[in-house]
Symmetry: C2
Subunit: 198 residues, 2 copies
């Protein structure tokens, strides 16, 4: 199995973290998050979005979109509940992550920490403000429960951990989110946890 | 069952279309897509994103995020394949829709057709250009296959139909996408199809 990977990408980290916890081995093909000139050549036939992560199974079939990949591998494992309603709630958080969290928390981190020519500080600040709304929503939920769905650690936690735990690299202040910080520690404490640099 | 709905929202239309095709009845509570002042009061306990669609099941439990809702109701029906890999591909397209299509095609339509104070024409044009990238990707896939996953109509088609079929309201020119236009006609031809105004 082959993972088209960028080591600094939180989206790729979701896949690496789950596969580590499942004990599933794979090879990595490292792509740059800055120089994307080879994306169409490498990923054109595999992923219409030309993004990492893209995973190629042993039979040659590909899956794209980080949250689709982790949902696939988590199926039938303790990282995805069996109950249909709880699965819907996991998906709800996965879509929340991609629509309301990643485009703000991850993009601001990219601009601040990696982009060769980031936009204006006003533009960064405006996007950071929307990222804080996602963190506010997480804080409200996590002040009442230990994990996002059903009391146990699931891929909903993996998906939201990926960019939240490095939000400081984008200038987000997590000091104001005590429940989020306790949850980050609980996630990092799960068996088989690996860091984003692993 | 109660659907918090906005009639013009493509995200809500996904849910209405699937429930119509499944023959599942429900009540609607109509919310404005422009005046959102009552969202926290109505949806605060139901949906951390404060968005429509939000659905409340008969037992009072809620599900948010349009694509999580349609995945839930499609489970065990012909609108979601049983095969695990095909399900992953359905999810891939659902995440593509929310990350690469909706924020451009739907947001431009909202700005052009509904927003009381839309941004500058340069900003609209820039976002429309990114929307065209999503339509380009759809055209490439649909020039080779009748539906997005596995040869049959699934919720991947419902999700992508919702805003594509009204893209013209956002100034997108679909004339350049013959495969997309043929697919739109195939989707509209499915048994039990209802329009966005129904």
């Amino acid at each position: 199995m082959l993972l088209y990977n960028s080591q600094v990408s939180g989206n790729c980290y979701k896949v690496r973290l789950l596969l580590a916890q499942l004990g599933i081995g794979y090879e990595r093909h490292e792509l740059s998050v800055v120089d994307r000139s080879n994306r169409a050549q490498l990923l054109g036939e595999l992923n219409p979005g030309l993004r990492v992560p893209t995973i190629v199974l042993d039979d040659g079939r590909a899956i794209a979109e980080s949250n689709a990949i982790i949902y696939y591998f988590a199926s039938g494992t303790p990282y995805l509940p069996h109950d249909l309603y709880e699965r819907a709630k996991v998906l709800q958080w996965l879509f929340f992550e991609q629509y309301s969290h990643e485009p703000y928390v991850a993009v601001v981190r990219f601009w601040v920490a990696f982009a060769p020519s980031p936009p204006s500080s006003q533009e960064i600040e405006a996007r950071r403000a929307t990222g804080y709304l996602a963190l506010d929503a997480m804080e409200r939920v996590l002040s009442r429960q230990r994990f996002f769905v059903g009391g146990d650690y699931t891929i909903a936690d993996i998906a939201l951990y990926a960019y939240t735990h490095v939000a400081g690299e984008g200038g987000f202040d997590l000091e104001r989110y005590p429940a989020v910080r306790e949850w980050l520690a609980r996630v990092a404490d799960q068996p088989g946890h690996v860091t984003i640099s692993a």
